[in-house]
Assembly symmetry: C2
Homo-oligomer: 417 residues x 2
């Protein structure tokens, strides 16, 4: 769907009029210098749209930012890693508001013009004594050179920072979209422990932007799954400051389509980057379900297969095990007929009509040895399709996620628990 | 619910009039002597009831046994491990029927009086050339001493065989229920790669037996989950031959209640044994959800938490991480209010009103260090409860499930693929 766009440097600072800064506030670990507090700021007034986790347990910053984004005039995003400020009750909400208010004061903005985002451990109080004193420095250090630093500051168990910027022409004038994202664990359709901040100088109205964001999120972040979990803190926030020289982009115009293609591309690239950098992941799988009776059936099948621990284990083992795939298709609750199901690995038939195909096993094994491969499941019952992007699950994933005790110990040292 | 009963030896052969046999047919591996073919037989005519997987991809023996059990006069069960006879199409069904027909011939029964069950790898043809010649030997070796051998022959990745027998009095006359089961991977509510065969000499009518089996399965096998997967082959089959000396057990009588309590106990003990012996599992967790608005909400919460890879990883790491539990509660789609949620580990408060409780961390850590512990989630929204029995997930589980390539190689040697 999304065609490749020309990439440029700069991340969230690539579009005109966006500044950023990031520093180490000691939220992750006061004894080590690691970026964990970041600010993105539009010098000009901006239009803002946000999409948030559907988890009914919502982190304090999600609640606060949802309120702030209602006006649609958010002009700055404050983000931290190391502490999710989730399950922190009334004081968590107070802390999130205080962060927004203090940052706003330094920037000359109202509290409601600052969105706040947190990612990290659930259930521990924010170490405000280390965050608050840094907010002024953060504001003073704003610069158009700091896109990458922001991308790094929001990382938790990510192994690499994730950013992108694309420039394209509307009416022969350059328009830019920049983005950074973090992911790693808890990635699942309907959002993830995932933050994505998108900046653009496109001259686009609020309702057109809202619709574009909603649809792009549906086709990107809502289509990725690593471990079937869904976090309390997922947020996608888009700031648009109209600083490009194009006329206002009208809904349903050619310019609007161009903008949406670019936004689709940016979000899908970020979403795929999250899967590739899933915790201890070794494989990137594009899973296409075809021929379902309904869109919902196609989605059910895709998600059942992509979230099956047994299927994911076999991918980790480079085993072209279509038996586990078809068993997950069977329990997906979608309408299926076993004897009609075809399964392809990299376009090589593994299962035809519910039975083993005669493709030599060596060919199928070679296909799943690749770092990235495609699985196609054709149900032969209708016209509906669905695609998810997913990964294997590794012994190291479990090992990695066994304990967060170190965080508790730090909070105790801080006198917070 | 189920009170402890006096256990006796003998497994499925403990009730009067039941014989069994098991041998190595080389289905698992022709070069090694491992039990993989088993027969259970009631000398007297029996009443039979079966419950099967809800997976829409059903193994051939499931389809065949469902038909055979319709008459309710099944008197023998033939079971094999090593090959699931699933996704094997028309020839798979022919193989299952042939097994039932040949076994019936040797026993003097109709084909439809023999149920067939298979467990093992999906998608490979049954090595009939090794199974068929053994069916006569199997019949000749029937004896009342072979309960344990049957329990061993149905094992796949199980580390121990699982059997039980209980004797209790109805009208001062002894009545016995025996059972064996296998489980290991793919254990999930709505059944598992799980076989359970239950024999009883109770004098109980068909409709009373059907109702008892259905309700006991709902409270036992449908309440366990190891990896969230659900297999193509799950079967619970109960044979009742009325050889005890009690009068016919009438529905809703005291005798019927006694029988059902014993059946509940037997099934729950087998179900718990399956969880304890889940693939590379180290913890047994009883997860109680209380105070839900509806039964379905309580179930959704229990299953979301029990199937969360992140929650299960933290149990493996002996980390009393209530943050991950509450995040799974949040995405369960049940009605919840974050600020009302209490979470207890072994009756020690970990989270009160959605916030960290003040129980010392050492106490909570001590609780999750036990091999077996209880988690209680109180939603404080209503009266509905639900309990599931579940486990951690270990790095070794993933490692163990990475490949089934060895099975393919054997099938190739056999000239079957």
């Amino acid at each position: 769907m999304a065609k490749p766009f020309k990439k440029i440097k700069g991340g969230v600072c690539a579009p005109k009029g966006f500044l950023a800064s990031a520093l180490s506030a000691g939220i992750k670990d006061p004894s080590v210098e690691r970026l964990d507090l970041a600010l993105i700021y539009s010098e000009a007034p901006a239009i803002s749209v946000g999409t948030f986790t559907t988890n009914r347990v919502k982190a304090a910053p999600v609640r606060v930012s949802q309120t702030h984004l209602r006006n649609g005039d958010v002009q700055a995003i404050l983000a931290n890693s190391g502490n999710a400020n989730a399950c922190t009750g009334v004081s968590g909400v107070e802390h999130a508001r205080l962060c927004a208010r203090t940052t706003g004061k330094h920037l000359g903005l109202k509290q409601s013009q600052v969105a706040v985002c947190s990612t990290g451990v659930i259930g521990l109080p924010m170490p405000m004594m280390r965050i608050e004193p840094k907010l002024e420095t953060l504001t003073n250090q704003l610069s158009s050179k700091n896109g990458k630093k922001v991308a790094k500051a929001i990382m938790t168990s990510d192994t690499t920072h994730k950013e992108i910027a694309v420039r394209f022409l509307i009416d022969d004038k350059p328009v830019t979209i920049g983005a950074c994202a973090k992911g790693a664990g808890m990635i699942c359709p309907s959002m993830a422990t995932m933050l994505c901040f998108i900046t653009t100088d496109a001259n686009v109205g609020k309702s057109a932007l809202e619709q574009a964001v909603q649809e792009s999120v549906e086709n990107s972040f809502n289509r990725i799954t690593i471990d079937g979990d869904m976090s309390t803190n997922d947020s996608v926030i888009v700031l648009s400051n109209a600083q490009s020289d194009t006329p206002r982009i009208q809904r349903k115009s050619k310019a609007c389509r161009q903008f949406r293609e670019a936004l689709d591309y940016v979000m899908l690239e970020m979403a795929k980057a999250l899967v590739r950098d899933g915790e201890r992941v070794t494989k990137f799988i594009t899973l296409d379900v075809k021929g379902a009776r309904t869109y919902n059936d196609a989605k059910k099948v895709a998600e059942a297969v992509a979230n099956s621990a047994l299927v994911k284990s076999s991918w980790n083992g480079e085993d072209p095990n279509w038996g586990r795939i078809i068993h997950a298709v069977g329990y997906s609750r979608a309408m299926i007929r076993e004897e009609l199901i075809d399964i392809y690995i990299e376009n090589k038939a593994a299962c035809i009509g519910g039975l083993q195909a005669d493709t030599p096993m060596e060919l199928l094994r070679k296909a799943v040895k690749k770092d990235s491969f495609q699985i196609t499941i054709d149900l032969h019952l209708g016209e509906a399709n669905y695609t998810v992007y997913t990964s294997d699950i590794s012994p190291e994933y479990i090992d990695f996620n066994r304990s967060e005790y170190a965080y508790w110990k730090q909070s105790r040292k801080d006198g917070l628990v």
